[in-house]
């Protein structure tokens, strides 16, 4: 897809994807990183994102969906502006990961896979995020918070709320 055609993506992302498809011997090898970058920018894999990625690689939308649905980190519905990912794998679980998850549920008023009404937070339970040494740990978008205790949760939530207010606006970009 040339730069001139209408793209959903920012010029920077479009350029990055253009480079990516040329990088591999087969264009479709770029599919997973493309989906990940597109999701980071758009927030989720909308029908339009799927269609554009398919067109950029030259495969069918069905093929894009076949791959994308395999990965739990790729999503088809919008997440909150801050996606709270609570690890409940073995180290985190032993050190109280489920209490953390429960506290987030109370604090945000949503269950796993839920999004708050203001679109600010979403919550999900994830597999190991590689922070076992500092368990229990969570990841909010790409930020880590570790060695947590349930009583630290409100502070984390508040800090992101403050951050959102500072940026002016509560809904998703």
């Amino acid at each position: 897809m040339s730069q001139e055609t209408m793209s959903l993506f920012s010029p920077q992302l479009a350029a990055r994807l253009d480079a990516l498809v040329e990088k591999y011997p087969r264009r479709r090898s770029a599919l997973v990183p493309m989906l990940l970058y597109a999701q980071d920018e758009v927030g989720y894999l909308s029908d339009a994102v799927v269609a554009e990625v398919a067109a950029r690689i030259g495969i069918t939308e069905l093929e894009v969906r076949n791959v994308a649905t395999y990965y739990s980190m790729l999503r088809f519905k919008p997440a909150g502006k801050y996606n709270v990912q609570v690890c409940t794998n073995i180290s985190c679980m032993l050190r109280g990961g489920y209490e953390i998850l429960e506290r987030f549920q109370q604090e945000l008023g949503i269950g796993p896979k839920g999004v708050t009404a203001d679109g600010l937070f979403s919550l999900e339970e994830v597999e190991c995020i590689g922070a076992c040494c500092w368990a229990p740990a969570i990841q909010v978008n790409y930020d880590f918070h570790d060695e947590l205790k349930p009583e630290l949760v409100p502070g984390i939530v508040d800090s992101y709320r403050g951050k959102a207010q500072a940026e002016g606006g509560s809904s998703h970009a």
Binding site: L62, N66, T69, Y70
Partner: protein
């Protein structure tokens, strides 16, 4: 590759190096079970059923991905392997519902067979099975998700085999499911947007994909299976019809070709697989009809109808001569019927006014090949030829089997496909080189290839051997020019594409006003005329000329057999004011509605005989279904001639060796053995033809009198396709332009038959909706 020797279960086997173990074992009669492995498709190794023990390898290996090499030692059958397979089945049955008593596949399910064999009858899982509602993806395809064992056969068949890529697998693990490409009108419902060939249903080893026309209709073991030939396009796929007793005969319930016999193997398109319901169309004729004093068609007995038709034909012949009678034959009737029809016209009615709705200029093809034997290609060659030049035509739409053969050949044998076409066709995706022709460029194609100036023509010229397949765009002199180019070039074989199941047979059998059977000109007659002296010596009227003659009041009677010129050749009531019309057909067509006498015929699925596909391959048609009230065209024609006072023995050479035959008393032929019995009779020089209504009685005469039709009879009766030789037709010149009107039937249309197939109409509507959705997006 060189042969290697390896050991399986203590037995030495030999196979070419690189052969997959599962194939090598199957050839040697050692069965290795597999769900995901399917010959011809890419390897998946998903099901783990084909596990075998290989010496010196720590873990069990999948036989479907193990190429054999010198000195390997395998065990394919042991306690350990049985246990491994049993464990696999237990996992597969974890969510698989045990609804076998109502499942379509029950009784012919590979999972059921394996469970029976390896005995995983007891479930070790305490959890409830995951249930999902079944989905309808199209009028033809239903998906029952919990039954699916994720073997990927359907996705590979659809993608690699059909080049449609409409099926995928989404999600993972226990949530993984087959997903179609479309999302329907509401946006969320799963819909299939594809060619609706039903191959996915066919290859499904379990009952996950089921067919709209077959599901919940019967149990597999309640059907009888009859192997015959599809009645739609001119490729001549072999089709196995599942039939069952019904109130008025026996009905067709299913069409497939799971035994992989014939030219097509297991391939069938939507028409072959679902397009058989015209036999029970409400417009299907079940009684002869006569036009009464008020001008309305009303039911009559066969005697009344035949007497009226015969007396009128006789009267016109005796008072106005044979020239006042016209005969229009069919593209769907058998060779025997076509031969009989032209014989009836020429020897009994005394006229050369005989034609059919020509869709391809086969006469020009025969004239171009005259004297050059061994130049006509069988359809089988499309799957094996190293290089193919496809000129014109659109096989994907109009010749699905040919398209399948070409795709398979390119995929498995790396055949080189060259395409020259005025339009863009889908097969270009498989082509090595494509040449787009200007409108009318076909006439100049031979000169263009000869010139060899472009890369395309150089590439074609560089091929050592070439299979040239050309479409209906070619007529008369253009056919000659292309064939001459090929003959000059050398090492070329040809095929010419036509439209209907027996279009080629109709032309070969002489349903032409200027040609006797085998394209022998009426002016220079050969064997046929010698055997039947006194034939009319001048060319008769073509179909359009007959219609003109009728309008001018010059045609006293018109006999139309299995054709519908009122729908597509402009025949109308006004033109027929002074013509007595007799129509023999299976349906109350537009033409039948104009007739004075209508005789109800058996469809191709309800009779015996032979057909010739557009490649000249002859195949046996066997009677599968049955319908009360109808008669095969063959019998109708013999009865009609008989009612005119003609000698049936002159018309049909039956009972030549006396009136005795072994009808099975010596070996107790029972139901289902008839075909083999025929082979046995022939081998023992016995005479099975005791009746003038036996179409096979005509086969001897066809072989004797039609140039090019000397066939390998044992192979033919054994259910195989046998080639004919158009090169044996006499050299002759073509007179005038032949009235050729290609039908250009697509995936869901089939002339008049297609209009009466509810299944095909539903598929066409579904695909039209999908198309509209896609455009709206």
């Amino acid at each position: 590759m060189a042969d290697v020797t390896f050991t399986v279960n203590g037995k030495k086997l030999t196979a070419p190096a690189g052969t997959l173990l599962i194939e090598a074992c199957r050839k040697a009669g050692i069965e290795i079970p597999a769900f995901c492995y399917y010959p011809g498709l890419s390897l998946q190794a998903a099901c783990r059923m084909c596990l075998v023990r290989q010496e010196k390898v720590p873990k069990l290996q999948t036989a479907c991905t193990t190429p054999v090499a010198e000195g390997q030692v395998f065990i394919t059958d042991s306690e350990e392997i049985a246990q491994a397979r049993k464990a696999t089945i237990q996992l597969l049955l974890g969510n698989h519902p045990l609804d076998c008593p109502v499942c379509d596949a029950g009784g012919e399910c590979e999972l059921q067979d394996m469970t029976f064999k390896y005995g995983a009858g007891e479930s070790l899982y305490a959890d409830a099975k995951n249930h999902r509602e079944e989905q309808q993806w199209s009028p033809a395809v239903y998906y029952d998700r919990p039954r699916c064992i994720l073997c990927y056969r359907c996705t590979r068949m659809c993608g690699e085999g059909m080049d449609v890529w409409a099926l995928g697998i989404q999600n993972r693990g226990v949530r993984a499911a087959i997903t179609p490409n479309g999302r329907g009108a509401g946006g969320e419902q799963a819909w299939l947007d594809c060619e609706q060939c039903g191959m996915c249903i066919d290859v499904c080893p379990v009952g996950a994909l089921t067919s709209g026309s077959y599901r919940y209709k019967t149990r597999p073991w309640e059907m009888n299976h009859v192997s015959t030939v599809c009645t739609h396009c001119a490729d001549g796929c072999k089709v196995t019809l599942g039939v069952r007793q019904s109130n008025d005969g026996s009905e067709i319930i299913r069409a497939d070709n799971r035994d992989k016999s014939g030219i097509n193997g297991d391939f069938l398109c939507a028409k072959g697989r679902f397009g058989f319901d015209f036999v029970e169309s409400p417009e299907r004729l079940a009684k002869p009809l006569l036009r009464n004093a008020e001008g309305k068609l009303e039911p009559a007995t066969w005697e009344q109808a035949l007497r009226r038709a015969a007396s009128k034909l006789k009267e016109v012949r005796d008072t106005r001569g044979g020239g006042a009678i016209g005969v229009i034959g069919s593209n769907h009737t058998t060779n025997e019927e076509n031969y009989l029809l032209q014989k009836l016209a020429r020897t009994v009615l005394g006229t050369n006014n005989i034609d059919h709705q020509r869709t391809t200029d086969y006469a020009a093809f025969a004239a171009a090949l005259a004297g050059h034997t061994g130049k006509a290609a069988s359809l089988r060659e499309a799957a094996t030829a190293p290089a193919i030049l496809l000129v014109g035509g659109n096989p994907t739409e109009e010749h699905p089997l040919l398209a399948w053969q070409l795709r398979t050949n390119v995929r498995l044998n790396r055949a080189r496909l060259y395409i020259a076409n005025a339009k863009t066709i889908k097969l270009e995706r498989q082509a090595r080189a494509v040449q787009t022709l200007p409108e009318g460029g076909y006439a100049k194609l031979a000169a263009y290839l000869e010139e060899g100036a472009s890369d395309f023509s150089k590439a074609v010229a560089g091929e050592e051997s070439l299979l040239v397949i050309f479409g209906q765009e070619f007529r008369g002199a253009d056919v000659k020019a292309l064939v001459n180019w090929g003959l000059k070039r050398g090492n070329v074989r040809f095929a010419f594409l036509g439209d209907y199941a027996n279009s080629r047979g109709a032309a070969d059998m002489g349903l032409l006003p200027d040609r006797l059977p085998g394209y022998v000109p009426v002016s220079e007659p050969g064997a046929f005329a010698e055997e039947y002296p006194g034939l009319p010596g001048t060319a008769g009227r073509t179909l359009p000329e007959m219609i003109e003659a009728a309008a001018a009041g010059e045609l006293g009677a018109l006999l139309v057999v299995g054709a519908n010129p009122a729908a597509n050749r402009g025949l109308d009531r006004a033109a027929l004011k002074n013509t007595f019309v007799i129509v023999v057909d299976i349906l109350l067509t537009e033409t039948a509605a104009l007739a004075d006498v209508v005789l109800p015929a058996a469809s191709l699925y309800e009779k015996t005989g032979t057909l010739t596909n557009t490649f000249g391959d002859v195949q046996m048609v066997s009677k599968a279904a049955d319908r009360a009230g109808v008669k095969p065209d063959f019998e109708i024609l013999v009865r009609l001639a008989g009612a005119m006072g003609a000698d049936a023995r002159q018309l049909v050479p039956f009972g030549a060796g006396g009136m005795t035959a072994d009808l099975g008393q010596s070996r107790g032929a029972s139901a289902g053995e008839a075909d083999r019995h025929a082979v046995w009779l022939a081998a023992n020089n016995l005479e099975p033809k005791l009746s003038p209504f036996d179409p096979l009685a005509m086969l001897d005469e066809i072989e004797r009198l039609v140039p090019g039709y000397r066939m390998d009879r044992m192979n033919l009766l054994g259910g195989n396709d046998v080639p004919t030789e158009p090169g044996l037709s006499p050299a002759s010149s073509l007179v005038g332009a032949a009235p050729i009107v290609p039908a250009h039937n697509g995936l869901f249309t089939s002339g008049t038959l297609g209009k009466h197939c509810t299944a095909l109409k539903n598929l066409a509507e579904h695909q039209a909706r999908e198309m509209a959705e896609a455009v709206a997006k």
